[in-house]
Amino acid sequence: MSSNIYDFSTLTGSIHTWLSGMMSSGWVIFTEMVLVGLIFLLMYALLGLFLVYLERKVCAIMQNRVGPNRVGKWGLLQTIADLIKLLLKELIPIRKSDALLFNLAPFIVIICSFLAMAALPYAKGLQAIDFNIGVFYIMAVSSLSVVGILLAGWASNSKYSLIGAMRSGAQIVSYELSVGLSLLAIVVFSGTMQLSGIIESQANGWWIFKGHIPAFISFVIFLIASTAEINRGPFDLAEAESELTAGFHTEYSGIKFAFFFLAEYMNMFIVAALGATIFLGGWMPFHVGNWEGFNQIMDYIPSVVWFFTKTFFIILIIMWFKWTFPRLRIDQLLTLEWKYLLPISLFNIVLIAFIVLMGWHF
């Protein structure tokens, strides 16, 4: 395999050596952490804003509308204007609410999605921390956000919020299983939980192509279950605009509401990125067997571009779901999980284990 020409480890390595020349190793680590943190914060905010814009544009076009088009070219600055508005809005304290938990909840939600971003490989050599249990880590961290949602619902002292939060709890706890099992399928294939390892194992073909039909089934299950896990339509029962007005964040205003809003979109980005990494080869270019010329051309496209293209492809699919389907009812939601997704994914895992055992995969 020809080495990827856009390897970020050379860049990060040179920054590291440059910093090491200036200060002691402890300070180097500290400076690097601050730098990485700042970059992530910036990326978090920009990506979140862009995703909100994207969602509004995508749904507008699907609905024969134009979408935001007044602020900036094609309305690109619309979400920034919205952000400024949200920053300036009054934070309304709720009477008889639990002030500590009420204020804590948005931070829990946003910190969880922030944590998960750290382990994602954005390009070759561009990954904040490469755990050897990366998949497990992201799973664990992203499911923590349910705590924030539950707290928000409980502390709001609002009946709508409470119902929304309880729904969300039931939903995330059950769908976590399917997400886990569908990711486990690829872990079984590649034999590692390290995200960089999983990507390396897809150098000669993505798992969705290499893993026969079981991998494809896992991919579909992952799409459905992760849509449910991030509380997006058709599984947006926790918000359920027409039933619970806004569910768990009914009582939030201003920047605290913006936190929930941003976290929701970033969670969507995280699951899409995870799906792209695990099933679609992450930053790996698209290669076809022995077509050397074709593969060469593909290698010239930077790995960052590959990663974001795949991620946004999955994001588009998730948005397409939301803007097409009606919402499920809570019991149907659980039926779908426990009667369809879970048995199928369990069976799928057994099948994959068998395939791996026989060495039938590529």
């Binding site: 058709p234 359920a240 919402r327 809570i330």
Partner: protein
Amino acid sequence: MMSEEIIKDVIVGEQEDYLINLGPQHPSTHGVLRLEVCLKGETVKYLNPHIGYIHRGIEKMCEALTYQQIIHLTDRMDYLSAHINNEAVSMIVEDALQVEVPERVKYIRTILDELNRIASHQLWWCAFGMDLGALTTFFYGLRDREHILDIFEESFGSRLLHSFVCPGGLMHDVHPNFQKRTKEFIKYFRTKLPEYDQLLTGNIIFQNRSKGIGYMSRETAIGYGVTGPSGRGSGFSCDVRKIAPYGAYDKVRFNEILETEGDVFARYKVRMAEMHESLSIIEQLIDNIPEGDFTAKMKPIIKLPAGEYFRRVETARGELAVYVVSDGNKTPYRMKFRTPNFSNLFVMNEIASGYKIADLIAISGSLDLVIPDIDR
């Protein structure tokens, strides 16, 4: 102090009842309706509708207005079938004075009735989809409804509240383009209706959400006086167009859509089928509008002979009955509107108890309530 009293007043159930107020401002009540819902977990134990937030006293206002002036008030009851409401009052005056309305007027009124019915059902379809969380339906429905509203605007000058009918006929003749544009619309909408089915009717999530929910038996429907598509979804044959044909309905062939399941999906199917049926009614009439006058000869001041008059029409939501007591003056002595939504609303407690709160939204959506029509 004050608020505590109000809270005490609101909580009438048992101690452990989990009461929530759905409305008066809530995305799915389509207006200012308050449903006091008692929940057990997610299940609705009972509910109690509170109305009157936009009670304007139309019946009292009518007592001070002449019959021509009343027309514009009826627009504002069920604003989505404004034309049909207008027609009801006009017909009761024509009945009382025994005026023979020109054939042309009858044809045009019937076509407009059906266009209005389609527009109303389209808006219901979009709002119903949105109640269930399918937000895209809203824009597709409104996109197609715009074509009807454009036809209305061209002929009447207004899109929603067109006081176009007056006792004896019409305010003025329809626009010369009316026939052409209506035919264009029929052709256009025939291509869009299959999309509605693909997007919502066939959708497995939608079917699971609506089948077997909000069961209303035929007896319940008759007992509560639930008419219109909601009643016909329970097998209650209540189409006034068939029972007592008015306008040009005796000259067209159409079916009364009846479903027997009585659930939300049955009511949905009735409305979808009614759109097809309305299209075919318009198709039968649009080419045969006779030439003639657009209004009968009426005196400028209308005085109904003393007596009582009763007239029923089929609006998009059910049976609108108008009851007038006249003492021979130019204003009515008493005017009563039996509006369809008033009766349709109060069946909610009966059919929504025992279902989930998400079903409650679907049920209230399937009854297709227009709140100003309830309050009047």
